[in-house]
């Protein structure tokens, strides 16, 4: 090199780089035929243990890899049907539920599924007492009494006794949740460490009987499932399902267009627009059990005035936001129950009406509006919603200062109820109206030291009357009457609550044209991948 001129060096380098790039063979632009590749954000998955899993893709795949006594129907994903159970009944006093299991079912390990496994799995969730345990412990189970309350009564039969005579629809709906998955007791206990009921092991491992089984999970990287050939029902059509962590919407879209993935689960509205125009791609959408809302902290004296609360509801341009920021991903919903849940309502009376809001503000003693802060997650669609609201509120003199923050930061402040206004969303914990009534319309104790801190508490909304109504609804055994009760609660809620309910989230998946049978489920764990095939 000592004798070559700098110019020659440059030519050489350029040439080498070019040759290197050209030398690479083009990629095969499709995924293997028996494998479904899904791009998703995997960073909120922290465990694969059904007793602890609550959020993210890990919670989603539980519907495919584990069975429970009852699960949501494949045809109508809001209707519970028997899964491992063959039949169930309630005692006349409404407290004891008896389950009979289907005979001859095997776990992926080959072990038979027995009532012992089913009862033990429920007991284990209560004893471990992780985040989702409350879905079961709300029936009065504790670490001390659960062995008596949930009992094996025969090789294939078990009973479960609740502390009150709850609405059977409520109890059965809760049993479809991930926390009620049935585990292979023998396999889990074989990996027990110092009496932890296999907790440390199951975090990253698998002991179920679902149509697919977990092959490998690498945090923030990949979740791999494969067909469970021991499954008792119709076997999965696909041999493998791979979730890959792809955070960026634009990156997901590129991968999908190129055929390197089959499904994209995290596309932003503008990318969905683009995907809709392409022939070899398609989309599928399902309204989810998730709502967006604006919370008004009642500790703020201005926001505590009933007229101000109502005025805020007239200061949101619902349809404009729905047509832009929430395009494809949300529909207007001004009630706390998302559509699809028992007792949900489609009464959406509010629209942007500045004059009306001004009159209400004047009545409350704020003819010229007031200044207030609003905490917002610094990501879409929260930011877009907040900015739109800031603009329309200003027209009535309400001067909102937006305080952007990271998700967990905003949440920490919210949980300490130190905000004024906040834009957030809420996902149902299980597919029953009580989950949202419990948090939006129940606040048994509004003190700072309260034992339970639902969303009504976080916004310091003291509501003994509504709390009573919600408590009654969960005990109503006539399903029709029960639905009516939730409708009434929501009528009152729409008028007076410090919650400006905005939208119900729509889940959208973008797919390659050759993917068949992919349908997003409305609740966690009801997107059944074992039904999917590829042409």
């Amino acid at each position: 090199m000592t004798n070559s001129s700098p110019l020659a060096v440059g030519r050489l380098l350029g040439g080498t780089a070019f040759a290197l790039v050209l030398g690479l063979t083009p990629m095969a632009a499709s995924t293997p035929k028996d494998t479904l590749v899904i791009a998703d954000k995997l960073d909120s998955s922290i465990t694969m243990d059904p007793a602890e899993v609550f959020e993210g893709t890990a919670a989603e795949v539980m519907g495919d890899i584990y069975d429970r006594l009852v699960r949501f129907s494949e045809k109508d994903p809001a209707k519970p049907v028997n899964d491992l159970a063959q039949a169930w009944s309630v005692s006349p006093d409404g407290k004891t539920y008896s389950f009979e299991l289907k005979p001859g079912i095997k776990f992926a390990s080959g072990n038979p599924v027995t009532a012992e496994d089913a009862a033990w799995s429920l007991q284990r969730a209560i004893i471990l007492d992780k985040s989702p345990a409350f879905i079961l412990s709300q029936f009065g189970f504790t670490k001390d009494n659960v062995a008596q309350m949930i009992k094996q009564t025969g090789p294939l039969s078990l009973t479960m006794t609740t502390d009150k005579n709850y609405a059977p629809s409520f109890v059965i709906n809760c049993l479809t949740a991930n926390v009620a998955c049935v585990l292979d007791k023998k396999v889990v206990l074989a990996h027990e460490d110092k009496g932890d009921l296999g907790y440390a092991w199951l975090k990253t491992n698998y002991a179920g009987s679902g149509p697919l089984k977990l092959r490998e999970w690498r945090t923030n990287e990949v979740i791999m499932l494969e067909r469970n050939d021991n499954y008792y029902g119709r076997k999965s059509i696909l041999g493998r399902v791979i979730f890959r962590h792809v955070n960026e919407s634009a990156t997901q879209r590129l991968l999908l267009e190129k055929g390197d993935i089959d499904v994209a689960l995290g596309l932003a509205p503008q990318d969905l627009d683009a995907v809709a125009k392409e022939k070899e791609l398609k989309t599928t959408a399902t309204p989810l059990g998730s709502v967006f809302y604006i919370g008004l902290n009642q500790k703020n004296p201005a926001l505590a005035k009933p007229e101000v609360r109502e005025a805020m509801k007239w200061l949101v341009d619902y349809s404009a936001i729905a047509g832009t920021i929430m395009n494809h991903i949300g529909v207007v919903q001004q009630n706390f129950l998302p559509n699809g849940l028992l007792g949900s309502s489609n009464v959406n009376p509010y629209k942007l009406d500045v004059a009306k809001a001004k009159a209400l503000l004047a009545k409350a003693g704020y003819p010229n509006g007031f200044k207030v802060t609003m905490d917002v997650r610094s990501s879409q669609p929260y930011q877009g919603i907040a900015e739109a609201f800031q603009q329309t509120a200003k027209r009535a003199g309400v001067d909102i200062e937006i305080l952007p923050g990271d998700g967990k930061q905003v949440l920490t402040k919210y949980r300490a109820r130190k905000h004024d206004i906040l834009v957030y969303n809420w996902d149902v914990d299980y597919w029953d109206p009580h989950t949202n009534a419990d948090t939006f319309a129940r606040n048994p104790d509004n003190a700072d030291t309260a034992k339970s801190k639902p969303l009504a508490w976080r916004n310091a909304w003291d509501i003994p009357g509504l709390t009573k109504l919600a408590d009654a609804a969960v005990l109503e055994r006539d399903t029709k009457k029960r639905a009516e009760m939730y409708k009434n609660i929501q009528t009152e809620f729409r008028k007076n609550s410090p919650f400006v309910m905005l939208f119900q989230t729509i889940g959208v998946a973008a797919l390659r044209g050759n993917v068949e049978g992919f349908k997003l489920g409305p609740s966690t764990g009801s997107t059944y991948l074992f039904n999917v095939s590829k042409r």
């Binding site: 780089a17 293997p32 993935i261």
Partner: protein, 345 residues
């Protein structure tokens, strides 16, 4: 000098060096720890989520030792570190060491390839620009450098993907490899290129390379922008020295003067520049890793910080700190080989 004093001296140098090292680490950890504890994010949230009952939240807070005074928490942490225990990540539930062992090789592959490109292309280009100072080559390099420095890498990454992956199909897409290889490639060290080459899985190797080439070129371009500018200025400095005039007077060829004499001297400060730029890339480039869905260290630490997952953040900090310290040491050693004046007699 008698051997005993020499030994004593060496011991003293090593001792003081270790002392400085220890203090550096301690300071690094203390600052990171305090930041982690004062940011307004509740770490319990990452463990139990938003839905857990209050009683559970309180229990976990107690279990995590968050009710203790911050200095006590720090002391407990330091004691653990001393035993070689980096703790468990809240987010992934894995031991932090295991997480880092997985994330770091991904970053290392990318950073190494990026630095090879950055230095391999940047140094000659810088030399060239210095030799042709003020000519079109120099001007072009200035624009290229400025572009690399000022255009967001995020945008460059997406454009690169659009052109070379989506339209031209020259390179692999986001991710470290095609899905088909997720099942067949087993990794020992985490350095997948190395592992696949060692196992003789050449099609996997090619696939890995095709995925690496674009993000590495991109990182290489950014560091090239910096390295070439620095090379140019070091070279200009050298070329104006008297020994260059003397060499020319002696009748040496221009190429020999540039490559053998001037560059050799410019190399000394340049080594530090390259080492620091390498260290910067080894920290993980969050934006590049995001666009290319590259499961590296930058994403890991950022994600941990956003969730107040302090064990992971501190573990990552130790690794990044060690890289800087290690590369500084390395450039010191290289100094000594390159510059005879720094050698002890």
């Amino acid at each position: 000098m008698n051997p005993r004093t020499r030994l004593f001296r060496a011991a003293r140098t090593t001792g003081s060096f270790l002392g400085v090292l220890l203090l550096t680490y301690l300071g690094l950890l203390a600052v990171t720890f305090v930041i982690g504890r004062v940011i307004p994010i509740d770490p319990v949230l990452s463990v139990v989520g938003d839905r857990a009952p209050e009683a559970l939240v309180a229990r976990v807070r107690e279990e995590m030792g968050l009710n203790k005074p911050i200095w006590e928490q720090f002391w407990i942490y330091i004691c653990k570190i001393a035993r070689g225990d980096l703790g468990v990540s809240l987010l992934t539930s894995n031991p932090v060491l295991k997480d880092i062992k997985r994330a770091f090789p991904a970053t290392m592959e990318l950073a190494t390839a990026g630095t090879i490109i950055g230095a391999g292309v940047g140094v000659p280009l810088g030399v060239w620009a210095a030799v042709r100072k003020g000519k079109w080559v120099d001007q072009t390099m200035r624009v290229v450098g400025l572009f690399g420095y000022s255009v967001p890498i995020f945008w460059l990454g997406l454009m690169g993907l659009l052109l070379f992956y989506a339209k031209l199909d020259w390179v692999g897409g986001p991710g470290r490899m095609d899905v088909a290889y997720e099942y067949t490639l087993t990794s020992v060290s985490g350095l997948l290129l190395l592992d696949s080459a060692r196992a003789g899985q050449w099609d996997a190797f090619r696939n890995l390379l095709s995925h690496l080439v674009l993000p590495a070129t991109l990182l290489g371009y950014v560091s090239l922008a910096y390295i070439s500018r620095m090379t140019r200025s070091f070279m200009l400095n050298e070329l104006s020295q008297e020994y260059v005039v003397a060499a020319r007077a002696k009748g040496l060829s221009e190429a020999r003067i540039i490559w053998r004499h001037a560059l050799r001297n410019a190399m000394v400060p340049l080594v530090t520049v390259i080492a620091l730029s390498y260290a910067g890339l080894l920290e993980g480039s969050v934006l590049t890793e995001t666009v290319f869905a590259w499961p590296g260290l930058g994403l890991y630490i950022t994600n941990a910080l956003q969730n107040a997952d302090m064990n992971a953040v501190l573990g990552g900090t130790i690794v990044v700190g060690s890289i800087f310290i290690g590369l500084n040491l390395l450039s010191d050693v290289l100094y000594r080989t390159l510059d005879p004046r720094t050698r002890e007699r």
